[in-house]
């Protein structure tokens, strides 16, 4: 089924929050999913897998410790937390590449590389064992499907910007992944009660009498 980019953004926002991320990171998840969808990439399967892995765990275990290699105390980095750190520390890339340790759902990391590239006005190459991707913030060059997890990633300024993916105005998310995200998204909705139904929206009896 075809979805609007707004729908992709919205389900990601709610699902990330539903899985326990802070609102600001949920906003990043929403923007990242829209960024990917706008470049013809369905991020839903990797986001659903990520949320299933991080659900109920301490997010500090998934957050990067800055160092020579930015890695997670718990083993694998969350691409949303690591990605936010990358785009926040974008200016460091002007001095030297940044290296990240083991990373879950790596496709979700690419939008943050894009935003870091836009911030410093340069193309960035994101490399991993067996492949790489390029982005200047608007364009994304990525020819292979990214797996579920990478052992590490290197982000470096690059003079190259190979042929980019064609932009997309619609998303075609995997329906099973969509439903899995829907499960997380529903957690942000308060169960209906008669009190909230009657008063939460300000309704009183007889409102529709004219």
């Amino acid at each position: 089924m075809s979805r609007s980019l707004y729908e992709v953004e919205t389900i990601a926002w709610k699902a990330a929050r539903g899985a326990g991320y802070p609102w600001g990171i949920a906003e990043e998840a929403a923007s990242a999913m829209r960024w990917l969808a706008g470049r013809g990439i369905d991020g839903c399967p990797q986001l659903a897998s990520l949320l299933e892995r991080t659900d109920g765990s301490n997010l500090d275990d998934w957050s990067p410790d800055p160092g020579e290699i930015w890695s997670a105390p718990g083993g694998a980095l969350c691409p949303l937390l690591a990605g936010a750190a990358l785009s926040d520390h974008a200016r460091r890339l002007q001095q030297c590449p940044l290296e990240f340790g083991r990373l879950a759902s790596p496709v979700l990391f690419l939008p943050f590389a894009g935003w870091a590239a836009a911030r410093i006005g340069a193309s960035l190459q994101v490399s991993w064992s067996g492949g790489s991707s390029f982005t200047d913030g608007v364009r994304l060059a990525l020819q292979v499907d990214l797996g579920q997890e990478f052992d590490g990633m290197l982000v470096a300024v690059s003079g190259e910007m190979p042929e980019a993916r064609v932009g997309a105005g619609r998303a075609f998310p995997d329906s099973r992944a969509w439903d899995r995200l829907g499960g997380f998204a529903r957690r942000v909705h308060a169960p209906a009660s008669e009190t909230s139904r009657r008063f939460g929206a300000g309704a009183v009896d007889g409102i529709d009498d004219d």
Binding site: M1, S2, A84, G169, H189, A201, G202, D208, D209
Partner: protein, 545 residues
């Protein structure tokens, strides 16, 4: 930007309805009804075609047989008197079948990139039957009853921008006709109004046969489309901070330009005076059953008299007359009166005001990247500048956090709950920027001012959403409401009023502290009647001698 002031705003030249009618008239848009297949009860479908310079759009309307007991303005309703879609292009039979299977379901339907907007409307049970019966009997309806309601149908939702699968705004924003905000939404409502008039006359003809008469054109023009707006709209201006900033900034810049005008010509003064007098008529007809709004309207009537008296006492032709008038109003008038006046002074100055409508969209669609290299000293300075009011609130006092915004599972309706009485805190939406800024500030104070935002957010991801808002304020000074949006005394209708005034709504009639009825397009020329001579002043009713 306080809630009470936002809750006193009025339509102006920069309202989205007026931007649209101006464009439609100046570009000579063509309208035609290409299908109207209705039975004698007015049940069936209709198609209206709109040709603008580069493209064609179509309203596809479905009219239903709705039992009275199912007619509800609430978002939780599941059936309506009429349902609509605005389609990109001209529908073929396959499109109509697809729409017929989905549009009547509204939120439960699916839409494609061909659909720009989806909407629905209910008949005013007070007025619809009266008008249909009168016309069928060969008589015109009672003017008093028409004025009291003001519309034959009211919309209860207008969904655009990618909702339920419809096209994303980003995909159409480059089209000149959609460059200003909410233009597709305003277009569908304009077309719905034309459809509603056709439908009531059709029903009257079927009932009355040769005896039936059409609605008098002047009477028809006074009718708008009603709209019932609830809490769902209130979070919008918080969630779209940069966009809302652009609306306010455009209006403020318009006011600044007019206040800088050194002298007013006779013609400019005459036009202002004309709109002022016609505003009196509009305010006289503005009935509200809500005690707060009723007293505000009464005071506004007085304020309009005070403005007239002021102009008569101190002729205002020279020495930055509008600046002096606005300065005087700040002590002499209520907020409702001040806001009405600032809208009115823009009226004679289309040549310097109207172009500002091009700045009202948000080119980034709400996306804002945090600048991690900003120092915490600068962050704190910005935070104090834009949230100083929030730092002065004692957030441990229960009344200050009495409310919590949440989304109900039921049809995903935004609601407002009592935090200290219901189990809703865990579902709270991030709609309290003031409290969240105060929380972030408490942690920021423990950090060295020389550190950067990037390091702070690595340790405090829970403050990320509010740091983003703080940074948005650096270039968008009107992004934030400077009031507590979760206090016990907060009135959500103030937030609704602000947004609806930018739509160009009139006759605000709050039905509680959290939902409001309004009129849209009351006074507007219908398709085919619109021209450059009447596309501006239609919103002001004529003074009857």
């Amino acid at each position: 930007m306080r809630l009470a002031r936002l809750g006193s705003m009025h339509q102006s030249r920069l309202s989205f309805m007026r931007i649209l009618t101006r464009r439609m008239a100046c570009e000579n848009w063509k309208f035609s009804r290409t299908a109207f297949d209705m039975d004698e009860k007015g049940i069936g479908r209709a198609i209206y075609r709109v040709d603008c310079p580069q493209r064609t759009y179509s309203l596809v309307a479905f009219s239903h047989d709705l039992p009275d007991e199912m007619r509800s303005d609430r978002v939780i309703a599941e059936a309506w008197d009429a349902t609509f879609a605005l389609l990109d292009g001209v529908p073929d039979e396959t499109d109509v079948e697809r729409l017929e299977a989905n549009v009547p379901l509204q939120e439960a339907g699916r839409y494609s990139e061909r659909e720009l907007v989806v909407s629905r409307a209910n008949r005013s049970s007070r007025l619809w039957e009266h008008v249909a019966a009168a016309l069928a009997a060969g008589m015109q309806p009672d003017a008093e009853q028409l004025n009291a309601v003001g519309y034959l149908m009211r919309t209860t939702a207008v969904y655009g921008s990618g909702k339920f699968g419809a096209v994303d705004y980003a995909c159409v924003r480059e089209r000149p006709e959609f460059a200003a905000p909410f233009q597709a939404e305003m277009l569908i409502v304009y077309l719905i109004r034309a459809f509603v008039l056709d439908l009531v006359e059709h029903v009257a003809r079927c009932r009355g046969g040769k005896q039936a008469v059409p609605l008098n054109r002047d009477t028809a023009r006074k009718l708008g489309i009603g709209n019932a707006t609830g809490l769902g709209m209130a979070p919008f201006i918080v969630n779209h901070a940069a966009l809302f900033n652009n609306w306010i900034a455009a209006r403020e810049e318009a006011i600044r330009r007019v206040r800088s005008v050194p002298t007013a010509t006779e013609a400019e003064l005459a036009l202002f005076f004309d709109r002022l007098q016609r505003s009196e008529v509009m305010v006289r007809e503005w009935c509200s059953g809500h005690p707060v709004q009723r007293s505000k309207v009464e005071r506004l009537q007085l304020d309009l008299q005070l403005i007239k008296a002021r102009i008569e006492d101190c002729p205002i032709g020279e020495h930055c007359p509008w600046d002096r008038l606005v300065e005087w109003s700040e002590a002499a008038l209520s907020e409702e009166g001040q806001e009405c006046l600032t809208s009115l002074i823009l009226e004679p100055y289309g040549t310097i005001v109207d172009e500002l409508s091009e700045r009202m969209a948000d080119p980034d669609d709400g996306d804002f990247r945090i600048d991690g290299s900003m120092s915490l000293a600068e962050t704190c300075r910005l935070l104090r500048g834009h949230y100083g009011w929030a730092l002065e609130i004692d957030w441990t006092v229960p009344e200050e956090t009495a409310r919590a915004w949440y989304i109900s599972e039921e049809k995903l309706e935004p609601r407002l709950g009592e935090r200290h009485e219901e189990d809703i805190a865990e579902f709270e939406q991030p709609l309290s920027p003031g409290r969240d800024a105060a929380r972030a500030y408490a942690d920021l104070e423990r950090w060295s001012p020389g550190e950067q935002v990037a390091a702070f957010l690595l340790k405090h991801p829970e403050h990320r959403h509010v740091i983003r808002r703080v940074q948005v304020c650096r270039t968008a000074p009107y992004a934030e409401i400077h009031d507590n949006t979760i206090s016990a005394s907060m009135l959500p209708i103030d937030m609704l009023r602000a947004k609806l005034s930018f739509f160009g709504a009139t006759h605000f009639d709050p039905k509680s502290d959290r939902w409001v009825r309004i009129r849209m397009y009351a006074g507007a020329p219908y398709p085919g009647e619109l021209d450059p001579g009447n596309c501006e002043d239609w919103i002001y009713p004529e003074v009857v001698a």
